[in-house]
Amino acid sequence: MKNFFSSWKYRLTSFLALTAFTGYALLDTFVIPRSYTEGTVQQSAALNTERTVEVDKSVFETAKGTGANAENLGKSEEDASEIGNSSESNIDNAYGTSENKESSTSKAEEAVSTTIDTVSSDEVIGTYTDSVKTITLSEYRANDTSIYAADVQLLGDATELDESAFSATDLIQTAFADNTYGKNVKDATSVTAEENDAVLAINGDFYGAQNDGYVIRNGVLYRSTSGGNEDLAILADGSFEIFSENDLSAEEVLAAGAVDVLSFGPGLVENSEIAVTKDEEVGKAMASNPRTAIGILEDGHYVFVVTDGRTDESEGLTLYQLAEFMQSLGCTTAYNLDGGGSSTLYFNGEIINKPTTGGNNIKERSVSDIVYLGKAEDSATEST
């Protein structure tokens, strides 16, 4: 045995074993699709006697009150795609402010006045109207970046949350690529959107790239393993709640009436105030990148936002700038989704932004899930 370990044969064997294992590990992580549908669909949201889901927001209020997790927002260092960490100071002469790591411990409002420059007046580039909702798509320009915002307004009775006035398809929905819950199961946002007859879609939280983080979609719980993330719950009444996975279990969130839970973060705007702390800014994504975010202004009034980035035309936004932009639109709650090459806005059959991973090639990235609004079931629609 000593002879084997002393010889070139051992060196060759260990080299081959290391190479083979690494090849397998890379394939398993990035390529080999694995469907998780066998026995993982855990429970559906309980329906009350009127066949609607009961919403209990007190669960979230209590969690915020007792949760000792004010610091523990957002994801751990195992952050999802393209959210980054810059060790360099973000000195930005255009705004006359400078942020560096030393000031990271001070409060956000003190060290930073405003980091987003004046947003140019928007240009409406598309509209869609049906009996239940109106979607207005506008393009903005800020920080050398093109920003696309789809304003979704539920009409008339729908804003009073009268469930009989509108159907589930009129509220925000989510979908998996290939209609399959799994790892490395991916498709372009536009493809998944078309398969689901979406009029408006953005990429989701790319749950498929993570081994943990709650996954609740369309009222079904798929994964209850906590990743310690800050999540967004979209409740059955269309309202938004941002919570920490450390405070609430997935089952509790489902029982509280959550129809969809997105697990990426961080929360950008909460109670109309910017919620991205300085620690998060430094710790995660000071770099300018393409971004995707979703926000709610008031009952029945939402905004889906996607920015360009990493190109000569569009630099991209930092998380803080994104939060400021969402706040400027009037969001009371806003949440950050997967950015970078994943950021895609699909509207009326077209990709509106310029999705890119490296900046040199405009191409959609395949993602594991989307957030969308469906076309109305009736046929009376107008769109431009």
């Binding site: 260990s14 590990a25 393209e82 980054g84 810059s86």
Partner: protein, 171 residues
Amino acid sequence: MKEKCINGNVYKSGVIVSDISQKNEIMAAKGEDKPGEATKKVLGYVLITIAVALFGAVYEYFSFGVYSYYMIYAFAIPLILGVLPWLFIASARMGRGATEKDHPPMYTINLWGSGIATLTVGSVFHGILDIYGTTSSLSKVYFIVGAGLLLTAFMTFIGYREKKMTDARIA
């Protein structure tokens, strides 16, 4: 002409060979060229350290501001576990007459080397995943196997030394 290599010195018919180049020639011919071997190992690990550091730097450069300590500091593994011990061995051999028992046997060297390789590849792999933004339970395998190989190498070296010291006492 009886040549013997004992304790890092070369003896020709009982007389110590003081000429360095002649000594090296004889040692090389006898395969006892341990100082040369150690120096080569040092150089080899220095090159590996530089290669890993460069790879990490280039990878980070293209990663849109995302960094991973596993990627950036992967080079520290061959540096601390490879360069430093071999530097010590090379200097000891060249200097103050370390004996044969201080030079690790081939199987220890091989096990230790594969431990370093496993840990380094594991660190780079974990760094790639970190930067992409995902995790894998397979990452752990590298660190467990790597540590196991290093531990095994260390234990075989201890065993070897014990044996040599026992042999010396008996002889």
